[in-house]
């Protein structure tokens, strides 16, 4: 079933709406500049951009408490920025610098901000789903009222990890919300080619938990649907599976020209861009003026420019960092590596 918009979004105050708008713009602009920095070879390796899907990260963040836990896959720039991590250390991580969120050891796919309850950033499709189960299990075990929100792509629901984790999550009623960001393509393979059931939310029925979808191109609709699920989990009523129907405007990663999609399809989806959508809502409700929103764009432009400068000017990790953080208690004497 599709959960319909209720009045939750109407109740959002000016401050909350402007925060969401700023987050959308920040993620978009950050990703555009990432693409540019990638072509300049400042960013290396795999780099999966979030353009088009911003409404999901921002809607989810609005629905969560700051002390709730978030975990996602490797397309994670948007989520870490939505959690409030400053763009400078995020860009520095992508540059592989010592000032990065993981000291340059993780890179694009492994972004963490534990004080802000962002738990990564995981590179194996679907592997973060059992991890989220464990995070939520730990909350229940400790008697916390904190909810774990787990994001994954639609390709991950064909992994055994998804089914094993959802079964246990439902069985033990852990406080988790599983959100599938259905952008319709697992790398270059359309969901119609990979999945017998293309309505991802229907898979919830196998575990007798609520399955709902939301418009993942609409920040406020995403917020409303996720909020209901998060609060349900917080009340101890168990997990929900949400299918956020979204679209990535760019390729799977920076090395993907996206030839498996037609230009018309991408153009059609670009018309659903979440940024103008939220802008129109804010203006129609008279929560802010055009100039105020324009100013956000200008501020974000500077903020991202500053992040690039910070990353550029930051030092590389010291050679001595190579062997740190393997263990809490280092096990090998230095001589072994000589």
């Amino acid at each position: 079933m599709a959960q319909r918009t209720n009045s939750l979004a109407e109740k959002l105050d000016r401050e909350a709406l402007l925060k969401m708008y700023r987050q959308l713009v920040l993620i978009r602009r950050f990703e555009e500049r990432c693409a540019q920095q990638y072509s300049l070879q400042k960013i290396a390796g795999f780099c999966h951009l979030y353009n088009g899907q911003e409404a999901v990260a921002v809607g989810v963040e609005a629905a969560m408490r700051p002390d709730d836990y978030l975990v996602t896959a490797y397309r994670d720039h948007g989520q870490v920025l939505a959690r409030g991590t400053p763009p400078g250390p995020v860009m520095a991580e992508l540059f592989g610098k010592a000032t990065g969120v993981a000291k340059g050891k993780g890179g694009s796919m492994h972004l963490y901000d534990i004080p802000r309850n962002m738990y990564g950033g995981w590179g194996i499709v679907g592997a973060q789903i059992p991890l989220a189960l464990g995070m939520a299990y730990a909350s229940k075990y400790k008697g916390e009222d904190r909810v774990t929100v787990c994001l994954f792509g639609e390709a991950a629901v064909n992994q055994g990890a998804f089914h094993e984790a959802l079964n246990m999550a439902a069985l033990w009623k852990v406080p988790a919300v599983f959100i599938c960001e259905n952008n319709r393509y697992g790398m270059g393979t359309p969901i119609t080619v990979s999945s017998a059931v293309t309505d991802v939310y229907k898979r919830a029925s196998a575990y007798d938990i609520p399955g709902v979808w939301c418009d993942g191109m609409d920040t406020l609709h995403t917020y409303e649907v996720v909020y209901e699920a998060v609060e349900r989990a917080r009340r101890g009523e168990g997990p929900t599976l949400i299918e956020a129907r979204t679209y990535r405007f760019r390729g799977h990663s920076m090395s993907d020209p996206g030839t498996y999609r037609t230009r018309e399809e991408v153009e059609e989806e670009r018309k659903k861009d979440p940024i103008p959508k939220l802008r129109a809502f804010i203006l129609s409700k008279k929560r802010a003026k055009e100039e105020e929103l324009d100013q956000i764009h200008e501020e974000v432009e500077k903020e991202v420019e500053e992040a690039i400068r910070f990353a550029d000017e930051s030092p590389w990790p010291e050679p001595s960092e190579l062997y740190t953080d393997v263990y809490v208690d280092p096990i090998w004497p230095e001589k072994v590596h000589a």
């Binding site: 989220a132 464990g134 953080d325």
Partner: protein, 327 residues
């Protein structure tokens, strides 16, 4: 000290750690109501209740991942795999998540999980249930791999593993479960990464761990009757590996035989041999000798199975080769 079986020693370690730290919980297939597939967790559900001792579905990837996630949040999960053969299904969560989370997060995360269960062959269980996995896990930086060979070490090392801040792979043996030995009562910790000389000798070092320790000691007794005096080094931990004790022993005896029950290719013995030959090249009078199982999937038939397995006799033969002694 009193005599306990290997199984009872493990049970005592679990019992004591569950009592000591409320963040410790035990999860796995059949660990609760069934008292454990091999009865290692006997009585623990009754004593600690279903919050602390949890029966899981048969979903190795899922419940090992649960443990990894819970450990990441500061709990101390002990995850029982019914056997390490089945943990192949969970390898992604162990090798890709548990082993790497600390490094990838620049030290922000840690994973104090213990994953334990029986490793290696019992009898007549055929190929899919008769495998040794310690070298596979020892390959991954970020993991610690513990393979005790006596009841006392089983207790002391399991308690250390549960308290360790890093992910510990703890490998038991179905054949060791009923074996007996003296085990200290109460608080008893064996440090991870410390080998132990289980038999002193002057002629040849025999390196072993886990159930192979008993085979090595048996071989050493047989050799003693022929006047050959072996020193048996029990590594106890494969990663980190106590190179100091190992090398000191070989430098004392001048010869080295490595006994491992698994397959020869790329097993832990290959790494140990590399360490020994580099550190002891100047004093070795013969190559380091490796005694292993046969390089075949384990056959079912008793007649073939015994041919596939390392034995005390093969240790005797190996030591004689190392010492250039004619049989």
């Amino acid at each position: 000290m009193r005599e306990l079986t290997f199984r009872e020693a493990l049970n005592e370690a679990l019992d004591e750690e569950l009592a000591r730290d409320p963040n410790v919980f035990l999860m796995g297939e059949e660990v609760g109501a069934y008292d454990g597939a091999y009865k290692v967790s006997r009585g623990l559900l009754k004593k600690y209740g279903p919050k602390r001792v949890i029966d899981s579905p048969i979903s190795e990837l899922g419940f090992v991942g649960l443990g990894v996630g819970a450990a990441m949040m500061g709990l101390r999960p002990v995850i029982e795999v019914m056997t390490w053969n089945f943990a192949l299904l969970a390898l992604d969560q162990i090798a890709n998540t548990a082993a790497k989370m600390r490094y990838m997060s620049g030290g922000a995360l840690s994973c104090p999980i213990t994953i334990r269960g029986p490793n290696g062959a019992a009898h007549s269980l055929a190929a899919q249930h008769s495998q040794w996995f310690e070298p596979q896990y020892a390959y991954y930086p970020g993991l610690k791999v513990i393979v005790p060979g006596t009841p006392a070490d089983a207790k002391g090392l399991l308690k250390s593993a549960i308290r360790d801040p890093d992910p510990c792979i703890f490998m038991e043996s179905e054949l060791l479960y009923p074996t007996k030995g003296l085990v200290p009562e109460g608080e008893y910790l064996v440090p991870i990464g410390k080998a132990d000389i289980k038999r002193e000798g002057k002629d040849c070092t025999v390196v072993a761990w886990g159930r192979a320790l008993g085979i090595a000691l048996e071989g050493a007794e047989m050799l003693a009757k022929e006047g050959i005096d072996c020193e048996v080094v029990d590594l106890r931990t494969i990663r980190p590996l106590d190179e100091e004790t190992l090398v000191q022993s070989v430098r004392k005896t001048g010869a080295c035989v490595i006994l491992e029950e698994g397959w020869p290719y790329f097993n832990a013995g290959a790494q140990i041999s590399d360490i020994v030959q580099r550190a002891c090249f100047d004093i070795l009078d013969s190559p380091v000798i490796r005694v292993t199982g046969a390089d075949v999937p384990m056959p079912y038939s008793k007649a073939l199975e015994k041919l596939a397995r390392a034995s005390a006799e093969s240790v005797v033969a190996g030591v004689k080769v190392a010492l250039n002694v004619r049989s």
